[in-house]
């Protein structure tokens, strides 16, 4: 085994390297001595409410909807099951790598990622460290969006066939004579370059480079009535701030995206799912069932995401608020 999991809790004391302990002896001594005095910080006395033997390690992939899922799940695990939850801010790729080393137990919102499945899921020919744990109930939609003012002013713009007609509107300094199609975060699946050429659109794909950049651009476009066409996805909290309108691409049919270079159809609707490590799936942790049972709707996620992003609530507070308001849903997850 490559990574020995970091010892936690009480065992920590034993693992402390001698030299460091010696170097900090004075400090340590002071702490130990003062520790005998007692005071208003009381140690937790009973472990009976802890059904979890191990910590639950939840990867946090970098978008707010994901955070909403993760923190609601984590909040329930912590408060209803007594598990200790560690959140780890990681990218998808790194998260999946973490399954094998025991550093990540759960990825709560997975967008397809066939290449990662191939690498880590046994049934896809991978090393078997990752296990599909079922749908989150969320439907992932990827597509091209325009700000609402444009959909209102140019109603027929939402059909891809009319995009060439409006190409000149979308001209920017980055696209020369063509219209600009903004693509976002480099982590997201995109066929846009192929789509543009296969649909013979008079556009150039420009990489805004990050979700932040894309959101700021859409904000600006709506606020200052600037034309903009860009890659976006749902569920996404930003849609509750600016309800972007999706452009219809040629309908998705099974297998139409099989050859990435020849794609000429819309993105499929993703059934967002949970992925866990094999080690976690086989464990006796009560959180296993919780993760397996966890499902909710796009509206639920958008609400929690809005609490976090727009209302600037702490993710845990946001989760608590939603859990308190939706006890019945939570109870359903905990039923065996």
């Amino acid at each position: 085994m490559f990574h020995i999991p970091i010892p936690r809790g009480n065992s920590m004391e034993l693992k402390r390297p001698r030299t460091v302990a010696a170097a900090l002896a004075g400090l340590g001594l002071a702490v130990t001595l003062t520790g005998c005095g007692g005071g208003s910080i009381q140690n937790a006395t009973s472990e009976s409410d802890t059904k979890c033997d191990d910590d639950l390690n939840v990867a946090i992939n970098p978008w707010v909807g994901y955070e909403a899922d993760a923190h609601v799940l984590g909040y329930v695990a912590e408060n209803r099951l007594g598990c200790k939850v560690n959140y780890k801010d990681l990218d998808e790729q790194v998260s999946w790598k973490g399954f094998g080393s025991g550093e990540v137990d759960v990825v709560v919102e997975n967008w397809g990622h066939p290449e990662l499945q191939k690498k880590y899921m046994a049934d896809q020919g991978g090393d078997g460290s990752a296990v599909d744990f079922g749908s989150t109930g969320n439907e992932g939609v990827i597509g091209w969006y325009v700000p609402p003012w444009m959909a209102e002013k140019y109603p027929d713009i939402t059909d891809w066939k009319n995009l060439n007609k409006y190409a000149s509107l979308f001209k920017t300094t980055e696209s020369g004579d063509k219209g600009t199609l903004y693509d976002g975060d480099p982590g997201f699946v995109t066929n846009d370059e192929a789509l543009v050429s296969n649909l013979k659109l008079d556009y150039k794909v420009v990489y805004a480079g990050s979700e932040t950049a894309l959101i700021e651009a859409f904000r600006d476009a709506e606020k200052n009535k600037k034309p903009m066409l860009g890659y976006f996805y749902e569920p996404q909290w930003f849609l509750s701030e600016v309800p972007l309108v999706k452009v219809d691409l040629p309908e998705y049919k099974d297998g139409c995206d099989a050859d990435a270079a020849k794609v000429a159809c819309d993105y499929p609707v993703y059934d967002l799912n949970k992925v866990v490590s094999k080690e976690f799936a086989d464990s006796k942790s009560p959180a296993v069932d919780l993760v397996k049972n966890f499902t909710w709707t796009n509206e639920d996620q958008n609400l929690v995401a809005k609490y976090i992003a727009e209302d600037q609530m702490d993710p845990d507070e946001a989760a608590k608020k939603w859990v308190d308001d939706n006890q019945d849903k939570v109870d359903a997850w905990l039923k065996d």
């Binding site: 005095g37 140690n43 937790a44 480099p186 904000r219 606020k223």
Partner: protein, 681 residues
Amino acid sequence: MSTSTLERPAAGGGTHRDPELSGSPALATLRRHWRAASLLGVLVVWVVAWAIFKDQYTLVIGGSARTPVFDWLGDRSAWVEQAASNGSNPFINLAGAIADLVDSVFGWLQSLFTVAHFPRPLPQIGWLGTIAVAALVAYAAAGWRTLALVVPCFLAFGVLGYWNDAVDLLIVTFFAVVVSCLVGIAIGVLMAHSRRVSAFVTPILDVMQTMPPFVYLLPMSILFGIGPAAAVMMTLIYAAPPVIRITAHGIRSVSGPVIEATDSLGQTGLQRLWNVELPMAKRTIIAGINQTMMAALSMATIAAYIDSPGLGQPVLDGLKRGQLGTSFVAGIAIVIMAVMLDRSMTAAGFRAELAARAGERGGPFRRVGLAVATVGTLVALYLSHNYIWANEFPAQPDLGTPLRNAVDRFGEWLRTDLSHLTDGIQRGFTDYGLNPIQSLFADSPWFVTAAAILAIAAVVGGRRAAVATVLCLGMILGLGLWNHAMETLTACIVATVAVVVLAVVLGVLMGRSNRVDVGLRPILDMGQTLPPFVYLVPILILFGPNRFTAMLAGVVYAAPVAIKLVADGIRAVSPNTIEAAEMAGSSTWQMITKVQLPMARSSVLLATNQGLLYVLSMVVIGGMAGAGALGFDVVTGFRQSSAVGRGLAAGITIVLIGIMLDRITTYGAQRASATSPDSRA
């Protein structure tokens, strides 16, 4: 005029002067201008070739295209991953062992200061104890002035609402800096003493400093796992070069006579190192440690991509949630930490010397002070360990929230009232400045651009620069991202020109006026330490996602260093020279253009070189703001497993561009200073 000159044929094209006499100034003029003339020539040929062959052989490749080179690089990465997961490679297992050690020590420190471990509901030492310990250390190492700086800074972390994140970042930084310095000073000493070691290590340092951290985020997380160990290692790689280089420089520049004099007394090599070289290079080494510390802090945000604890996390949170204020407040906390560490380190460096000079006088007072402080610290530790109020940082007063809101309102104001005004600037600059230059670089056939760059390198930097350029361009070509490389190169060059202009204008102002210096320096300090992600968002709001935004961010990042270098250079011009020039009746303009700038020439050249490298290091972040090209490729490689090879190729290409530009400017500067007395004569 003698008759003999009249009788001669009109050798000088009709001039009647003696060709012996007229030839030499004409030749001198020619020699003085031949470089400019040949550059102009290269440019003309290039533009003509561009006009004829535009858009042919430009080596454009698609966003998701794969090449054998990318696949090969991707396979190497997969191989490392494979080796890491089955534990077959001893080196990788060693990395794992190091990671476990770092993680466990780190975990222990966290349990002391920031993280509760069951059954204790709070960490062992809370805020009061931490501040007391920090204050004691500051007082003991650097005196009460530093104590008076450190305590408010720590309080600020808490009041801004990032107590735990700040202390976590301190731990990571402390770790990385201590290891960097232990290893780095040792390597620096070896480099100073051995040319061979120096020749071997220098290119490695070049690569370490120009390789975008995003490229090794993934390998680091494979080798050292997710969490503090990988973060410390990453920070180490990025932060160690300054202390290594500056230590080597410091030891090399220890006065020769002193070395000789002490050698003549029969000291051993170790005695020389310990008693002479290290003490005499101490100030320089401390400056190096400071640079390393700043570099370590600047990695905080990027390390947060692989879950490094610390202030980088709230910066990224703010970014991902579209909360300008959150990023900004966390960024300010990083700036405060940078200022605190910088000033205390410098003060600690000077204290030992001052104390020795003060002799016995300060003794008893200081001893009493230390005793009192130690007792106070113990009491604070006791309280902090036992009482909640002294352990958990109080929620009030809260400066973070109002500051956050204010910044958010500012962002809103930018969006509504300013955004449409700025479009014109962006459009004008891109259409008339950037696009034509980029077209020249990227839309010419690759061999035309390559030949032009090579010709320019040869004219500016001579043979050595030309050799370096051939090697770098060849490898860039081989890596398969030629077109993106040219786009990135264009952006870098244009941004660097802007940086140099800014540096000269503001540097001269600062160098000439103390008041301007005092006013600007804190802003520059802040610009240098504020994570670029923080000001990236306001620039994005103003100018949208495009190359202009990315370049602007690069300029903001690189300008402070360059400005400071020029200002220091202007300041260093000898007062005697200034006096003499004043006596000769120079006007202010003449003083600047004929005395101060020419004499600060080496500083301006250094500022150009540093400006280039700093701009280059922003390429990746620029890729996240719409610049596309290599920066975007690197981030994609980190984010998508199918693009790992492409990301690596892009990262290496950036390194090659960096090395190429560095060599051209360095050799060019050497040639310029070598020939300058000649042209003045």
